[in-house]
Symmetry: C2
Subunit: 193 residues, 2 copies
DNA sequence: TATAAAAGACTGACAGTCAGTCATATAAGT
DNA sequence: ACTTATATGACTGACTGTCAGTCTTTTATA
């Protein structure tokens, strides 16, 4: 059981190394297998396809974001501070997955119905943000006029695009610069009377 | 000369039909060629690769957004109104290119250095937004504390993610719902004292 | 000895190539 | 002017190389 899970993890780790170097499309399954020290056939015992391996990595990334975010929501600070921390967590985890993150954005281009998988993976994080905003609204800390669900989508858009700008485009600005700008922008938008 | 350009356009149009139906990865070059009524070899006279065809379509889309946006920047309305209109234009054009838009986001996953191309295509739109924000700041209409360039990146993130939510995820919300939310969010963030 | 894991040779599909065809345009010969 | 030769380049589709995914065989384990 442990042995089997080790192989699985070895292949995941090897895949991340090759993706980091070559990107998704130029990475051959045989290379991943070689780097993991197994034969190509073994790869297919653990993963039904190359795309499924990527989805496993993306789910792993989202899982880490969620578990870290849940810790924050239990902290004893105001709702705005929680929101900023949840955004910061996303940046930190995405940075540690900078090799798989660009592929996440690409998933819906591969097969026509993959957008369902992509959406399903994003929904829990949307919900964390949505609940946080709703709670802030109920407590009177946040402006009640904004739709919490749509605002959550807007925030995810900002977060992912900033991650793209910093980790893929190698922007002049770093994550902390952006965090500061997001903080002032959202502070006015959510707490403004 | 015209004839050559016609073939080029025919292949672009055919490609969009097939992409709309099957997505990028499941579309075969031979299908695009067949739909355009030419042989596969002819495709490669006009486009060096399948990916280059997509980039041509994406550049076409960005070109339309830019030319429409430039009209708006010359209008005689306040800066905030211009900003909202430029955002609305992006939505309208992206909607008419909903078949190629998901592929745009995927470009950087294909080859490791494609992010340069992706960035180069986005820069002009970033600049339109940046200039608009800077002008608003100079005139005293917008809060001077926000960094115009980073704010432009944040807005593009919101716009593209919303487009994704509406045109690919088939969200419960429509573009007009989101436009309204973006309007109130940015109004407070930019015009708030 | 049976059962599961691992191996890698094999297959099919498809992106991209290339040697050659064909229609049209231009020049030459009558 | 009018036929015939020459050149051009758009167009073709059979062909090649590559690689994802399969399948049969081999090896380890219980």
């Amino acid at each position: 059981m442990t042995g089997k899970n080790e192989r699985y993890q070895e292949i995941l780790a090897a895949a991340r190394n090759v993706f980091a170097e070559k990107g998704f499309d130029d990475t051959k399954v045989s290379e991943i297998a070689q780097m993991a020290g197994v034969a190509k056939g073994t790869f297919y015992i653990y993963f039904p396809s190359k795309l499924d391996l990527v989805l496993a990595l993306v789910r792993e990334m989202q899982g880490k974001i969620l578990s870290e975010a849940e810790k924050v929501t239990n902290l004893n600070v105001d709702h705005f501070e929680k929101l900023v921390q949840v955004i910061k967590i996303a940046f930190i985890v995405i940075e540690s997955y900078r090799d798989v993150f660009p592929i996440f954005n690409a998933v819906s281009a591969f097969k026509t119905d993959q957008w369902k998988v992509e959406k399903e993976i994003r929904i829990p994080y949307y919900n964390v943000l949505k609940t946080l905003i709703e709670n802030g609204q109920k407590s009177g800390e946040f402006n009640r006029k904004l739709n919490a669900e749509m605002t959550a989508v807007l925030i995810v858009g900002m977060v992912e695009h900033v991650a793209h700008d910093c980790f893929i485009y190698h922007s002049d600005y770093c994550i902390d610069d952006y965090l500061h700008t997001i903080d002032s922008l959202l502070r006015k938008a959510l707490k403004g009377r």
